[in-house]
């Protein structure tokens, strides 16, 4: 396994920054040479994967491009055509495959995503709101001075603050932030439950090529990447999705169902996801929250489903079981090693505590970003086959309870056992708790590749 050059990889790919403030700028390039000058200027801002052994920076910057963005930067035709087809088409074009129809269809997206004008994503994270603003000012200045890009839209996001402290909570009240995979060479230490399952029951990191282009993937091949190699290596593909959350609908539905569910409201909420709202995995603690487990990195994601084939602890269709089946499909987990994704993102919109009213029409939700080497094999597959469909879990057409698009139909079965507080239970007439408001596919280049793009030196040989 080759050693990773962390100074060549954008930091956003290698780790979640855990900086509580973010702003995402969506850029449009009018003129290729001015845009290239801008990228050259931005290079000094871009945060690499170098470790922060001296402490967190005040703010970070990362950049990614849509295929049309790369076209507008006048990359050579042969290079443009060598990008994976899915990236070339873009997320809007692939809406039917992702099940982005009905209320999630592109015609309902935010204006910036309905039009095909987004060329680049600039992701800025900050330790404080002031640091974020300061960095953004510097970036604005660069854009002004070079005339390299217009800002089509800006999206703020921030960690939910509770009791004065930033948390990893999201708007439905769940604690997020578990379950990002380990990759060979990326993490310093492996967290049990995060990589791939070995026949002896231990966990090993996934092949680097599941995340980064230019490295062997789990199938012992190099993921499809653009030519020249130098453009693609150490880069990756990013999915950006703005997911609006219907908090009022969620709370009303949970209350209504909980009234009929003998296990109580918090347990039912836990059954939807597979973790209690504080993050305790149901599989490890089916009856109560357990802060000790949550805090323990070695334990909080170290479990398998082998002892729970009926789903009576963690329902078969619960979110985390759907998107990371672990050993649930047999074959020592080999069928899922190429279906893992890295998630980044933050909530957006005003957080409404439980005791305050919240309306579905208020702007709030989560900015959901996925990093993976292969869009069709990883993100699209999980979205199409495991979130919007259920055959692999033997759940027929049933969709993910919270993330699936139901339109008032469908059902979610909470498998149970004979205990009075854990009976089988069925939730029906599922509303759409989450709505897609837009997004696209981006290519996140290495530092070297950024330099090549900035200097117009991409040669497809």
């Amino acid at each position: 396994m080759s050693k990773l050059n962390e100074t060549d990889i954008q930091g956003f790919v290698l780790r979640g920054y855990n900086l509580p403030f973010a702003r995402y700028l969506f850029l449009h390039f009018e003129d290729a040479s001015r845009a290239r000058s801008l990228i050259a200027r931005l290079l000094s801002h871009v945060t690499t994967g170098q470790r922060w052994d001296g402490g967190k920076p005040q703010s970070t910057v990362n950049i990614a491009f849509t295929h049309r963005g790369l076209q507008h930067l006048e990359l050579p035709e042969a290079t443009l055509l060598s990008f994976p087809v899915e990236f070339q088409q873009g997320m809007k074009h692939r809406a039917p495959i992702l099940g982005d129809s009905g209320v999630n269809a592109p015609e309902h997206w935010d204006k910036v995503w309905r039009e095909d004008r987004v060329h680049a994503w600039l992701g800025i994270n900050g330790l404080t709101a002031e640091a974020l603003d300061a960095r953004c000012s510097a970036l604005h200045a660069a854009m002004e001075e070079t005339g390299g890009a217009a800002i089509l839209a800006s999206q703020d996001a921030a960690a939910v603050v509770r009791d004065g402290k930033p948390t990893t909570s999201e708007h439905f009240g769940y604690t997020d932030g578990f379950g990002n995979p380990d990759y060979l060479g990326v993490q310093r230490s492996s967290q049990p439950g995060q990589g791939k399952l070995l026949p002896d029951g231990t966990w090993a990191p996934l092949a680097t090529g599941e995340l980064l282009l230019g490295y062997a993937d789990e199938a012992g091949e190099l993921p499809v990447a653009p030519i020249p190699h130098l453009l693609g290596s150490n880069g990756t593909f990013m999915v950006y999705r703005k997911l609006h959350q219907n908090v009022a609908t969620f709370r009303a539905y949970l209350d209504q169902q909980a009234a009929l569910y003998p296990g109580g409201k918090e347990k039912l909420a836990a059954k939807f996801i597979g973790r209690w709202r504080d993050g305790t995995p149901l599989e490890l603690s089916p009856d109560r929250e357990d802060p000790a487990i949550v805090k323990d990195q070695i334990r909080n994601t170290a479990f398998t489903y082998g002892a729970d084939p009926e789903g009576s602890r963690c329902p078969i269709g619960a979110h985390i079981r759907r998107v990371h089946p672990r050993d649930a499909f047999g074959f020592n987990g080999q069928l899922i090693n190429r279906r893992r994704i890295t998630r980044r993102g933050l909530p957006y919109g005003r957080f409404a505590p439980e005791d305050e009213p919240a309306s579905d029409s208020e702007e709030r939700g989560v900015i959901f970003m996925v990093l993976n080497a292969s869009l069709p094999r990883q993100f699209e597959f999980v979205q199409q086959q495991w979130v919007q469909y259920g055959n692999d879990s033997r759940l027929g057409n049933d969709k993910d309870m919270l993330m699936g698009q139901h339109g008032g139909h469908g059902s979610f079965v909470v498998q149970g056992d004979r205990s009075p507080t854990n009976p089988p239970f069925v939730c029906t007439n599922l509303p759409d708790f989450v709505e897609l408001r837009g997004g696209d596919y981006f290519f996140l280049p290495s530092i070297t590749a950024l330099g090549m793009i900035a200097k117009g030196l991409v040669d497809p040989r």
Binding site: P96, S101, L260, Q405, H406, G407, F425, T428
Partner: protein, 210 residues
């Protein structure tokens, strides 16, 4: 015996298609054209005749040349492949086809060499058997249920899921009474037609996969 797996029969028939340079369009294209217009749903000949789980018809133009150093060779005729996964006994199945949908069989197979027509039952069965290839290895996920049993079970599955959802927290005496009614009603329901899709979903997922 290899053609069977449990109660399911793996029928593989390769019928040589008539080579006639004077036919316009050629016989293989005529078959293709007819098949393109044939319904694959509840009015399919395989839905109307009994016993077909899954079946396909394929015009095989030629063998495949996999590239040097393999030798390139070609078939002298094209073949109509009929691959069927069906219930039970071969003679019964073929008779069922001939009895129920003779016009479709004739429209398709009249383009094949030596086809006697579905009107003559014995000749038809002999013809099919003359074109039959032995299935060397046959795998079936479910090998012990007929088409009718399968359709009935699928109907039951949907009905049961709905009944369970609608009867949560109902007290035992009422539950028992309503269950008995439900089971009786379900038993009396007609079996869904083979080849018909389940309840139409209102969410647009694009319909046919193409």
């Amino acid at each position: 015996m290899p053609n069977k797996n449990g109660s399911v029969y793996g029928l593989t028939i390769l019928s040589p298609i008539i080579e006639d340079p004077r036919a316009t369009p050629s016989h293989d294209l005529q078959i293709r054209d007819y098949l393109a217009g044939l319904s694959t749903r509840e009015d399919s000949p395989f839905a109307l005749a009994p016993g077909t789980h899954l079946a396909r018809l394929v015009v095989m133009d030629d063998v495949v040349y996999v590239g040097a150093p393999a030798c390139e060779e070609h078939l002298k005729s094209k073949y109509l492949i009929f691959e069927s996964n069906c219930d039970g006994d071969l003679d019964t199945y073929l008779s069922g086809l001939a009895a129920t949908v003779p016009e479709h069989l004739d429209a398709i197979w009249r383009h094949c060499v030596g086809y006697p027509g579905a009107g003559n039952r014995k000749a038809f069965i002999d013809y099919m058997k003359a074109c039959q290839l032995e299935t060397t290895f046959f795998f079936a996920a479910v090998n012990n249920k007929t088409v009718t049993e399968t359709l009935r079970a699928l109907q039951t599955q949907t009905a049961v899921a709905d009944f369970i959802a609608a009867h949560q927290g109902v007290e035992p005496a009422v539950l028992q009474r309503e269950f008995i009614q439900f089971a009786a009603h379900l038993k009396s329901q007609p079996i869904p037609l083979p080849g018909s899709m389940g309840p139409h979903r209102t969410i647009e997922t694009g319909g046919r996969n193409e």
